[in-house]
């Protein structure tokens, strides 16, 4: 019985019809591939964005402080 099962399952009950690959290749040509989604931000990108924001904020604070001191001096 085991031999029967093995023989039948090991045999290939179905094969690809003739011209299947050629037909699919032609079909693929007519099927657009979706555009790969752009990758999300990586860790280093978040880090550089954060550093840029900190730098910008510190410059803004510096500007406000200088303006305040200058206004006080007058």
């Amino acid at each position: 019985m085991n031999d029967d099962i093995d023989t039948w399952l090991a045999a290939k009950p179905l094969a690809a019809p003739p011209g299947f690959a050629a037909r699919l290749t032609a079909l693929a040509q007519a099927t657009p591939q979706p555009r790969q989604p752009s990758r999300g931000f990586g860790a280093w990108q978040w880090a550089s964005l954060g550093a840029g924001a900190c730098f910008g904020a510190s410059r803004l604070c510096e500007f406000v402080l200088v303006a305040f001191v200058a206004a006080g001096a007058h």
Binding site: W8, A16, L27, A28, T31
Partner: protein, 182 residues
């Protein structure tokens, strides 16, 4: 044949590389679908959908997660299970009697051939009694060059679970065939 290079080229839109992938895998996919109990028309539909999905999502293939064959078979399995679960998607196997075989045949079959064909039909009917997931497991275990780890990946279970399920599926198949003989 460097299928990893071909899948990379396919992701870039190279349809000739895609054609080489289809040629390299089509027979294994059809044999797998045939063992799953799909008839030739349904198998062709499912194989076509499978390969078109490979074309569209070639960029998502990750060789670190398994071979290209494993990836394509996983897609084919999911497609086949979906198809079989749809209404009218289940192929009903009916055992064919010796008389029917004799009538259907143009030339009289020698006894041995007739017995072999009856045995084949009995096996098909017994396979149809198994659940689709068990048929998939049995089918993939006969795909050339697949080890148990690849089979487990296709079936989405651990190697140990695949081993146990495979053993049980074969046991169940044997029981069905023995009950049929009595």
């Amino acid at each position: 044949m460097d299928c990893d290079a071909d899948i990379g080229a396919t992701a870039g839109g190279d349809h000739l590389a895609f054609g080489r992938i289809v040629v390299a895998h089509q027979d294994r996919i059809f044999a797998y679908l045939g063992r799953m109990g799909l008839d030739s028309a349904m198998a062709e539909d499912v194989a076509q959908e499978t390969f078109l999905r490979v074309w569209r999502h070639a960029g998502k293939y990750d060789s670190r997660l398994g071979s290209l064959t494993t990836w394509i078979l996983t897609i084919a399995r999911n497609m086949a299970l979906t198809r079989l679960s749809q209404p009218g998607g289940r192929r009903v196997e009916t055992p064919v009697s010796a008389e029917t075989l004799e009538i259907a045949s143009d030339a009289p079959l020698p006894d041995e051939q007739l017995v072999a064909r009856q045995r084949e039909h009995r096996l098909q009917a017994a396979l149809a009694c198994l659940g689709a997931a068990d048929r998939s497991l049995l089918s993939s275990s006969y795909v050339d060059g697949l080890d148990l780890a690849a089979i487990a990946t296709i079936e989405g279970c651990s190697i140990g679970a695949a081993k146990v399920r495979l053993h049980r599926a074969r046991q169940r198949l044997r029981q069905i065939l023995e009950a049929d003989n009595e």
